[in-house]
Amino acid sequence: MAQSQALQSQEKKELVSKDETTVPVRYFVPTTDIFETEDALTVVMEVPAVNKEAVDISVENEVLKIEAKIDPSKYDGMEPLYTEYNVGHFARSFTLSNKIDQQQINAKLEDGVLTLTLKKAQEAMPRKISVG
């Protein structure tokens, strides 16, 4: 099925609304999958070229914010000849529909893919209520 399809390149989406920076440097919106299980929310995003140390994750007022930065100095002395994509930092935020246990956010970065596991807060877990 999906696994045997021929892959197509997706054009990187530019981030439109963000707190503006003084210099109009472009940010990109990372391609993201979001799944929910009974006790956690999993956010998987593609952030190629980003180093572990350059990822910033925060949850504030039910908003999950992710900023992932590339290291532009890697391109020092490189002169473009032909390009198909642009490069820049990544940023994206989501309003969470579930209460999250802030102490239990797990992040993993592998092959340019950032996986966040956000455990739901105890009160947000589904509960079975028996009729007595």
Partner: protein
């Protein structure tokens, strides 16, 4: 105090430069029909050529790189594992096979090619063949 080094300004400059070379004719006309995977950027670094290819989520072991004369072929498989019992809220990432060949307009020293794959970026260092390098000719 004026800042001598502004990384933001530099990145902005660089982003502009990348835009300016969007589908330049360097890799041959008509090739950039768009959508070919994986996306490739090509740079000159000194005498040599560096191709920077974005392959987030592709394991090193699932990548196959071949060069035949000056045709570079990158193929492989991108797998995404979806956990069980998961309700999907968003699915933007795509998985599948890919196979792409590009013909470089210069001669490459095939024995000295170096490939690095880290953080979802495949970097190919393609040294120009000696015979292809520009050389200055002394006027006698």
């Amino acid at each position: 105090m004026p800042m001598l080094f502004d990384p933001f300004e530099q990145l902005q400059e660089f982003q502009r430069a990348l835009d300016a070379f969007r589908s330049s004719g360097w890799l041959g006309a008509g090739l950039s029909a768009g959508g070919a995977y994986p996306p490739i950027n090509v740079f000159r670094k000194g005498d040599d050529i560096v191709a920077i290819i974005e392959v987030p989520g592709v394991r090193k072991s699932d990548l196959d790189i071949r060069i035949e004369r000056n045709t570079l072929r990158i193929s492989g498989n991108k797998n995404i594992e979806y956990g069980d019992k998961a309700a999907t809220h968003r699915r933007e990432r795509a998985a599948g096979r890919f196979d792409r060949a590009v013909t470089l307009p210069i001669d490459i020293d095939a024995d000295k090619i170096r490939a690095e794959c880290r953080d979802g970026i495949l970097a190919l260092y393609l040294p120009r063949a000696e015979r292809d390098k520009p050389r200055s000719i002394a006027v006698s």
